[in-house]
């Protein structure tokens, strides 16, 4: 399979599956609370409905407000293209750098923050100030995780990192891996605005962060914003499962059955991570905003200890 076909297939697959993750998380949460909950496909219906409505744009806003949804969606899609869903399917490596990946996402976030300030509403300013604080707190941990993975695989290319982790095979629950996994889990939660950091299901003035920033959007703009957010989440989860749960070595058959099997394994791993995230959401409460530095420091120290166990003490 040529690289171009593969990339197209992958991006279509990620875009189509992304809203499903939220549906599954919502369903698990509902089941633990003895509710029936919304259908798993609810987010597709929502996006479809929003796409058909016209967008309301404030008179006082500038071009930034109108262009941001496309930038957010675009950066999420480009970032998702850099992350292979499975290293076994590809004939050769695809370009894509971990550092670039995270800063492409940062571009999208930068524009969300600008757009939130653009309309001049009080919530937008508050939301973007909080978002910037959270992202700058979590950034040291992101950097240390990237560089530790880079040291392990002697490269910052996403593909090579995943391949190295897949070749390590049986030692994938070593100390370094588990520390980096936990650090990355916190990064994932912070980046996707999930419960201990931010509550995606509320519009309460005092607590909302991500919701406050997209409060002024409506219609297809809102749909693009939400779609971009779920694609970003799907991308980060793909990155995580392929780095920390490398099961590709079990696929020995080549050709079409091999591809199908790899994709099945990928979906299974995603389901496992989705369940983990849902269980975290069920079992924790949203922390006070000024307690977020504690979580960020914890994430940083997990990453740093992982770095130290690998680089200074030489254990994998």
């Amino acid at each position: 399979m040529s690289t171009i076909t593969y990339l197209l297939l992958q991006i279509v697959m990620i875009i189509l599956l992304a809203p499903l993750v939220n549906g599954v998380i919502g369903k698990i949460k509902a089941l633990t609370q003895k509710r029936t909950g919304a259908p798993v496909l609810q987010m597709y219906f929502d996006l479809h409905k929003l796409m058909q409505k016209s967008a309301v744009v404030s008179d006082v806003s500038s071009w930034i407000f109108r262009v941001t949804p496309y930038i957010v969606f675009g950066t999420a899609v480009v970032a998702a293209m850099l992350v292979p869903v499975s290293v076994r399917i590809l004939p050769d490596s695809i370009p894509g750098d971990m550092i670039m990946l995270f800063y492409i996402l940062a571009l999208g976030r930068f524009f969300i923050c600008l757009a939130a300030l653009d309309t001049g509403s009080a919530f937008g300013g508050m939301g973007s100030s909080r978002e910037v604080m959270i992202s700058s707190l979590i950034e040291p941990s992101v950097i240390v995780v990237i560089f530790t993975l880079g040291l392990i695989s002697k490269s910052t290319s996403v593909f090579i990192i995943m391949e190295t982790m897949a070749q390590r095979g049986s030692s994938f629950i070593g100390p370094v891996t588990i520390l980096l996994f936990l650090a990355m889990l916190m990064i994932l939660i912070a980046e996707t605005s999930r419960i201990p950091i931010d509550d995606p299901a509320t519009h309460l003035e005092l607590t909302m962060v991500h919701e406050a920033m997209i409060l002024e959007y409506s219609g297809r703009h809102l749909a693009l914003m939400e779609f971009g957010a779920v694609i970003k989440q799907m991308m980060l989860m793909t990155l995580m499962v392929n780095i920390f749960l490398p099961l590709e070595s079990f696929v020995t058959v080549a050709g079409f059955p091999g591809v199908a099997l790899s994709l099945l394994i990928y979906l299974g791993k995603m389901l496992v991570l989705t369940v983990i995230i849902a269980l975290i959401e069920v079992n924790t409460v949203k922390v006070r905003f000024f307690s977020i530095p504690n979580l960020a420091a914890l994430s940083f120290i997990l990453a740093f200890l992982g770095f130290m166990q690998y680089f200074v003490l030489g254990r994998s």
């Binding site: 070593g174 100390p175 588990i178 420091a297 940083f300 130290m308 003490l313």
Partner: protein, 218 residues
């Protein structure tokens, strides 16, 4: 085998750092219990190994004692003691929590540089495990001096003791049986006495903040 011990020693260090980031008494006790379970697993691994190679069951017996004492009895005693103390959340620290967490990271680095100077430890798997276990001692001590309430200090003492036990078991693969038993008996006595003390302090001073102990009352 060594691979799992590596992992367990890191998890143990992690539980100590988690403890530093908590500020509720129930979470203190829960994390302490988690750490005790990890120690029991470590002792179980070691004991199984020594049963296979030398045929001695000393460490397995110690593992059972740890489960009975640290996983069941001491958390129960602590719950009982803290039931009649009012504060369930520690509100003030000498430093804020992110700084405490970063300081415990510094302690890990410090213990690495201290231990790497000791000959015999710097090679093989022992190195990593002893560094992690020794860091637990230091973090327990640091936890003790960073909390203002007597409860934090009791937990810090217990964590320090856990660290000492694990350092000993990692560096010697099992101390003499009588020494371990002696330490455990000391520890349970200490917890009992400190429990009584906390209740007394709380009655006399209406608070368990140790800063109040400096004031004369009359």
């Amino acid at each position: 085998m060594e691979h799992y011990l590596d992992l367990l020693s890191v998890l143990m260090l992690l539980s100590a750092i988690m403890l530093v980031s908590h500020k509720r008494i129930r979470s203190y006790i829960r994390t302490f219990r988690l750490q005790a379970i990890l120690i029991a697993v470590i002792a179980g691994f070691m004991g199984f190994e020594s049963l296979m190679t030398e045929g001695s069951i000393d460490i397995l017996v110690i593992c059972v004692i740890i489960i009975a004492l640290k996983v069941v009895i001491i958390p129960m005693l602590l719950h009982k003691t803290f039931a009649n103390v009012e504060d369930v959340v520690e509100k003030d620290f000498y430093l804020n929590i992110p700084i405490l967490i970063l300081m415990s990271c510094v302690l890990v680095v410090f213990s690495y540089f201290t231990l790497s100077g000791i000959s015999g430890l710097a090679s093989g798997h022992v190195n990593l495990q002893v560094v992690n276990a020794f860091s637990v001692i230091l973090i327990g001590f640091f936890f003790m001096i960073s909390r203002k309430k007597a409860i934090g200090q009791i937990i810090g003492y217990l964590v320090m003791e856990n660290g000492i036990f694990v350092t000993a078991i990692f560096s010697t693969h099992g101390m003499p049986f009588i020494v371990d038993i002696g330490i455990f008996i000391d520890m349970i006595t200490a917890v009992l006495i400190m429990g009584v003390m906390v209740v007394q302090i709380n009655e006399k001073f209406d608070s368990i903040n140790i800063n109040n102990l400096r004031n004369l009352r009359g």
